[in-house]
Subunit: 324 residues, 2 copies
């Protein structure tokens, strides 16, 4: 099954989720509706809603229930994107102007706050307190991950473990709980919820590493912004950390990163990108991503043989294809 | 009973709340703990925790339960302050450097996000879904209120109703639910919860109007920043709206406000402040604040005669005293 077929099989449910998201962020304050709908219309793969729905197939599937989880998690994801764009001073995302660039930082901040709060009004319609505890715990970890990223900007001496801990919080956790909460909300057995959490966690780790690779190896057309964006901001990702372990590259790469840091945003990062691409860092990061993808597939092992299980492994294989 | 005596009677419970707040915002990420503790130590009247505790006396008082409500609401209040300081470009608050000024805007944004999320982990320990629904609904309204404030910057044609709707969302709602949730969490009867909500709402409206008056009539020593701060930002408050209805003042005041707007933050607002002070706007705003304070006392009318009821009316009278 191709990704497009998978989405087709979930089409009407995903459509319902899309409509609920639109309805939820529409208020009688035009400015807020505009910024929120601008974000919503910018699209995205809706990977979290897809995972919520598929995980819900392992319990007593109910669109009414799962929709609340899916809408809430996707809105939280969107809210983090608006806030990240403020931090990253990003002009575009997915080829569209960001809220902070179309409007301004203040408006982006409150749009994010509003979407967070809306996400909560949706999920609090569910009465299971475990769901709220898991979600709020993940939100705390996500904020810590974002702060760690700021702390580690331009830190060329951070180790791989630190990077992995950071992306675990920043990305993997929300994907992990998308699977876990989809199962939990439909009363799937605890072992199933736990296995789906592990699946999501490993997919999330692999996904972020792949995304970090794409920022270095992708073309501007594919990533919707010039490559080397992470480096320009000072975000030292896995391929760069591995490249710094590549002795013939290390010295020149350190110089390039120092030059970017000293230019305060003015320098371009293309020389650093070229160095990383020519290093052993790319292959090493790809290997680690593949290990996480493999662990994700492994986590599916003990789950009952229902079509959703096959869909989850299809998604994993799809995400593991590199588009550079 | 004086305010200080009231606080003394709640001392050990407020102390427990303070300790829980400190513990909750302390993480193993030093930067985040520093920014959060900086905020916490800057103090404040802790009016929301006081109202939660007193409202809890109308049900089956339990510090363990009430503490979760109080900590959560005070943290949410603090999170909005950090985000507001970014928007207001405020250098100081309560005589202390703001997070955005001691660190930077990015760090202030994530500190706010982190404290919001922490507030949720605390309150989601309570299992009553109504509590979470009420809280998340209020958070949405608060964000809308903040966006309305941005929308209405320098809008001299807004009417009083629009101002009232804005401060209702921005301020009164969180104070209203402090009372409501204190009662609800301790299983007070619905009529009591509703009366306490009305009490809190009216106190909150009066409180914000008084705060807006203070920004115009207070001394720098009392308000911890130069007077006229709201006007410098373009925040047109009730005394200014009433002053604009005062024909002999209107023309000159419009000119001054236009000058502030055109200076893009460079002009000082002291001439505008003097005009408002000399107008009928101050007395008119004071009258409306007094009406809200009176309605707050009225809302207490039907409540059982327990000491907490007297305490709530003492608080109201205390807040109604003007310190300018």
């Amino acid at each position: 099954m191709k990704m497009i077929q998978l989405y087709a099989s979930l089409k009407s449910d995903l459509q319902a989720i899309e409509e609920t998201m639109t309805r939820e962020v529409t208020t009688d304050l035009p400015l807020l509706s505009e910024t929120s709908l601008h974000l919503l219309k910018a699209g995205g793969k809706r990977i979290r809603p897809v995972l919520v729905l598929l995980s819900g197939k392992f319990g007593t599937y109910s669109l009414e229930t799962l929709q609340k989880v899916a809408v809430s998690l996707e809105l939280i994801h969107m809210a983090t994107l608006v806030h990240d764009d403020v931090i990253d001073d990003a002009e575009t995302r997915r080829g569209q102007l960001t809220v902070k660039s179309k409007w301004d930082n203040r408006i982006a901040m409150y749009t994010g706050d509003f979407i967070y709060a809306k996400a909560l009004t949706v999920i609090t319609q569910l009465e299971n307190p475990r769901i709220h505890q898991i979600l709020s715990g993940a939100m705390v970890q996500m904020c810590i991950g974002e702060m760690e990223q700021i702390r580690d900007f331009f830190n060329v001496n951070q180790n791989v473990r630190r990077y992995l801990l950071r992306i675990r919080r920043k990305t993997a956790l929300l994907i992990a709980i998308s699977c876990q909460l989809g199962a939990l909300a439909t009363n799937a057995p605890p072992a199933v919820c736990a296995a789906l959490y592990r699946f999501g966690y490993n997919v999330g780790m692999a996904y972020q590493i792949t995304d970090d690779l794409l920022d270095l190896c992708g073309t501007e057309k594919v990533i919707g912004k010039p490559p080397g964006n992470d480096l320009r901001q000072g975000n030292i990702t896995l391929p760069v950390l591995y490249a710094l372990e590549d002795e013939p590259i290390r010295g020149a790469l350190l110089d390039e990163i120092a030059a970017i840091q000293n230019s305060e945003g003015a320098a371009d990062s293309s020389a650093a990108v070229r160095l990383v691409r020519s290093s052993k860092g790319i292959a090493a990061a790809e290997r680690l991503a593949d290990r996480y993808f493999a662990k994700a597939l492994q986590a599916l092992g003990g789950l009952p043989e229902i079509p959703a299980k096959k869909n989850l492994s299809e998604i994993t294989r799809f995400l593991a294809q590199r588009s550079y």
